[in-house]
C-alpha cells in the first residue's frame, strides 16, 4: 500500500513537473546560451529559494483548509528584529549571525502562534486573522525602524548564506531551502503530524470525533508557517542585505499561487510540498525566460498570466485523464455532499 500511496503522490506531482520541463525546453530552444547557462539556472533557483521556504509552511496551512496572508509581513518583521538584535550585539561573525537567526525564527514563531490561536480557539476565519496580522506585523516593523530598511546583516551571513556557493554554482541559500523542503515533504507525507494536517483539511469534525486535537494541531500548523516565515526573514536579510520592508506586498499571493499551481486545493485535504516547489518555479521561470527573450515588460504580465492559466489547465486535464473520471473531474470526492475537490 505504501508503494501505491507514494506512486499516486508522485503521479500527481509529475504532471506539473512535465509542464515545468516543457517550459524549460521551450526557452532552451529559443535562447539556448543565455537561458541554459549555469549562471541563469542558478539565478532562477536562488530567486525561488526564499519563496520555497515560505511555500512549505503555506502548503501545510492550505492543506488544513486555511490560508496565511501574513507571511510576507512576518518575514519583514523577523528580519527587522534580527537586524536590530544583530546590530545591538555588534560584530560580523557567526555568533551574531546565529543570534539573528534565532531572533528571526522566534519572531516568526510568535506571529504564527498568534495566528494559530486566533484561528483555532477564537474561530476567526484565517483570511481575516492573517490579514490583521499582516497589517500589524508590518506596522510594528515600520514603527521599530521608522519605515527605513535596516541593513545590518553581518558579513558572514551575506557572504556565506546570501551569496556563497557550496560547490561550483550550487548556492548555499538554495541548499538550505532544499533542506527545508525535504523536511517539509517528510513531515507532511510521512509522519502523523502530516496525516493530521490532511485529516483536518478533509473533515475537521471527523478528526475531532476520533480524538485528534484539532485546535492544538491547527495552532501548530500556523506556528510552523510562522517559524518558516521567520527563517525566511533571516535568509531574505542575508540575500538582500536589507529588510525589504516595502518589498513584500505580493509575497503572500505569489506563494499562495505557487501552492495552488502545485495542485494543493484551497478547500483543504489535498496537496503536496513537492508540487508547491514546482508550482513556485513555473512563474519565476516564465518571468526569467521572457526577460531573456526581451519581451516588453507589459507584455510579460499578459503572457505570464496566459501561460499560467494554460499550464494549470493542462495539468488539471492530464490529472483528470489519469484518474479516468471522464464525466466530471471532481466526481470522485463530491459524492457525499463534499465540496469541489480543486479550489
Amino acid at each position: 500500500m505504501k508503494a501505491r500511496w507514494a506512486r499516486l503522490a508522485r503521479l500527481q506531482a509529475l504532471q506539473i513537473v512535465l509542464i515545468l520541463l516543457f517550459i524549460v525546453i521551450v526557452f532552451s530552444v529559443l535562447a539556448p546560451q543565455a537561458f541554459l547557462s549555469g549562471f541563469n539556472m542558478r539565478g532562477i533557483v536562488v530567486n525561488t529559494s526564499i519563496l520555497a521556504v515560505l511555500g512549505v509552511g503555506m502548503t501545510f496551512v492550505i492543506v488544513t483548509g486555511g490560508i496565511d496572508l501574513s507571511v510576507g509581513s512576518v518575514l519583514v518583521l523577523s528580519g527587522v528584529l534580527a537586524a536590530k538584535s544583530m546590530a545591538a550585539a555588534g560584530g560580523q561573525g557567526w555568533g551574531v549571525a546565529l543570534l539573528g537567526a534565532v531572533v528571526a525564527c522566534l519572531t516568526g514563531l510568535a506571529c504564527g502562534l498568534v495566528n494559530g490561536v486566533l484561528v483555532a480557539r477564537a474561530k476567526v476565519p484565517p483570511l481575516i486573522v492573517t490579514l490583521g496580522t499582516l497589517g500589524a506585523a508590518l506596522g510594528i516593523a515600520q514603527i521599530i525602524t521608522g519605515g527605513l530598511d535596516l541593513r545590518d546583516a553581518p558579513e558572514v551571513l551575506v557572504d556565506t548564506i546570501g551569496f556563497g556557493n557550496l560547490v561550483g554554482q550550487v548556492p548555499n541559500l538554495s541548499v538550505i531551502a532544499l533542506l527545508v523542503v525535504a523536511l517539509g515533504i517528510v513531515l507532511l507525507h510521512h509522519t502523523r503530524f502530516g496525516l493530521y494536517t490532511f485529516a483536518i483539511g478533509s473533515n475537521p469534525e471527523a478528526g475531532r470525533r476520533v480524538g485528534v486535537k484539532v485546535d492544538r494541531h491547527l495552532i501548530k500548523v500556523y506556528a510552523l508557517a510562522g517559524l518558516l516565515a521567520g527563517f525566511a526573514g533571516i535568509l531574505n536579510l542575508s540575500f538582500f542585505q536589507s529588510t525589504t520592508i516595502a518589498g513584500q506586498s505580493n509575497t503572500n499571493l505569489n506563494v499562495i499561487a505557487g501552492v495552488v499551481i502545485g495542485g494543493t486545493s484551497l478547500f483543504g485535504g489535498v496537496g503536496s510540498v513537492f508540487g508547491t516547489v514546482v508550482g513556485l518555479f513555473i512563474p519565476s521561470t516564465l518571468q526569467n525566460g521572457f526577460v531573456i527573450l526581451g519581451v516588453q515588460p507589459f507584455w510579460q504580465q499578459v503572457v505570464v498570466g496566459a501561460v499560467l492559466i494554460a499550464a494549470v489547465y493542462v495539468d488539471q486535464a492530464r490529472r483528470a485523464a489519469a484518474q479516468r473520471g471522464t464525466s466530471t473531474r471532481t466526481s470522485l470526492l463530491t459524492q457525499l455532499g463534499l465540496r469541489k475537490e480543486s479550489s
Binding site: L148, S284, V291, P297
Partner: protein, 303 residues
C-alpha cells in the same frame, strides 16, 4: 564576458541594457527615450526591462535575467541602496560595465559611473514652491508613497527639514498613501477634518498627488490648499493645467539617460568616465508650463 572584450574593438555595435526602477513610468520612459537616441547615435543597441514595482525583490530577478542575456553594459536604477549591491556586483563580475542612473548604491564604486538627481534637494524645492503659493505660512502636510522607498523618503525629508527651518510653517508630518489614490484621498479628507486650515500638501509621487487633489476637491477647499507634486509626467502636467495641482518639481531624466549612455560607452571604450554626476530640478507652475523653460522640463509618455 569574453565576447564583450572582442566587441569593444570598434566604437559601434555595443549591446547595452537598461533596467528601469519600474516599468511604465514617465520618468523612466523619458530617460529611456533619451538613452535610446543617444545609443542609436553611437551605433549601439539598447534593450529595456523593468519590474512591475519599485521594489528590489522584483528588480533582482529581472537584473539576473538581463545579466544572463549578456549585454556589455547595463544602465540600472537600483531600487535599494544595499539590496541591489550584490546582484550588481555579480553583474560586474561577469565583466559587464554598470552605470547607475537616478538612484545609487551603498558602495557605488562597483559602477563605472553614478548619475542621480538630489531628491532631498527636490523636497526642498517643493517647499520653495509652497512658499511661493502660500506666502503667509500655515500648516503643511506630506503625502508620501510608503515608508522605505529611498527616493520618496529623501524628498519628504528634504521638505520637512526645510519646513522646520521656517517658523511660519507647521509640519503636520508624513502620511502614506501606499500608492493608492483612494487612500490618499481618505487621508487628506480626514486630515482636513482634523486641521481645517492646512495650506499646503506636498505629494511625493503621482498617485499621492492625484488622491490628495481628490480629497481636497471633496472638501471643497481647492482655493485654500495648495498641492505641490513631484515629477512632470503628462498626468502631472494635466493636473497642473487643470489647477488641481499648483506646482511640480521636475527632475531631468533625459539628461540622466543621455549621460548614462555616454558614460557606459566611455567605459566600454576605455575612455575616461566621470564617477559621479548630479542633475538638478525645475519648478513648473501654470505660469511657466507653456514657456520653453517649462516645456523642456516636461517628461514624455513615449518617444
Amino acid at each position: 564576458s569574453g565576447g564583450s572584450g572582442g566587441g569593444s574593438g570598434g566604437a559601434g555595435a555595443h549591446r547595452l541594457a537598461f533596467v528601469q526602477g519600474v516599468a511604465g513610468d514617465a520618468f523612466y520612459i523619458t530617460m529611456d527615450c533619451a538613452a535610446q537616441s543617444a545609443a542609436k547615435a553611437a551605433g549601439a543597441t539598447l534593450t529595456t526591462q523593468g519590474g512591475q514595482k519599485f521594489d528590489p525583490t522584483m528588480q533582482t530577478p529581472v537584473l539576473q535575467s538581463v545579466v544572463s542575456s549578456r549585454p556589455e553594459a547595463i544602465l540600472i536604477a537600483p531600487t535599494d541602496v544595499s539590496a541591489m549591491q550584490k546582484p550588481i556586483e555579480q553583474a560586474t563580475q561577469q565583466g559587464i560595465k554598470v552605470v547607475l542612473v537616478d538612484t545609487t548604491l551603498r558602495d557605488p564604486s562597483v559602477a563605472a559611473s553614478a548619475i542621480a538627481s538630489d531628491n532631498e534637494g527636490g523636497g526642498k524645492a517643493a517647499f520653495d514652491a509652497i512658499k511661493q503659493l502660500a506666502p503667509n505660512g500655515g500648516k503643511v502636510l506630506v503625502v508620501s508613497v510608503q515608508p522605505g522607498v529611498s527616493t520618496t523618503d529623501a524628498r519628504a525629508k528634504g521638505f520637512q527639514d526645510a519646513v522646520k527651518a521656517d517658523p511660519r510653517y507647521t509640519d503636520l508630518g508624513v502620511q502614506y498613501s501606499m500608492n493608492e489614490p483612494q487612500k490618499a484621498a481618505q487621508i487628506v479628507t480626514a486630515a482636513l477634518q482634523k486641521d481645517p486650515d492646512i495650506v499646503g500638501v506636498f505629494a511625493t509621487n503621482l498617485f499621492s498627488a492625484e488622491g490628495s487633489a481628490t480629497g481636497v476637491r471633496q472638501a471643497g477647499k481647492q482655493d485654500q490648499v495648495k498641492i505641490v507634486g513631484f515629477d512632470a509626467g503628462p498626468d502631472q502636467v494635466k493636473a497642473l493645467r487643470d489647477g488641481t495641482v499648483q506646482a511640480l518639481v521636475a527632475q531631468q531624466p533625459g539628461k540622466i539617460g543621455e549621460e548614462g549612455i555616454k558614460q557606459a560607452l566611455a567605459a566600454l571604450n576605455n575612455q575616461p568616465v566621470t564617477a559621479k554626476i548630479q542633475t538638478g530640478f525645475t519648478i513648473v507652475t501654470r505660469d511657466n508650463v507653456d514657456k520653453p523653460e517649462g516645456q523642456s522640463a516636461l517628461y514624455k509618455s513615449s518617444c
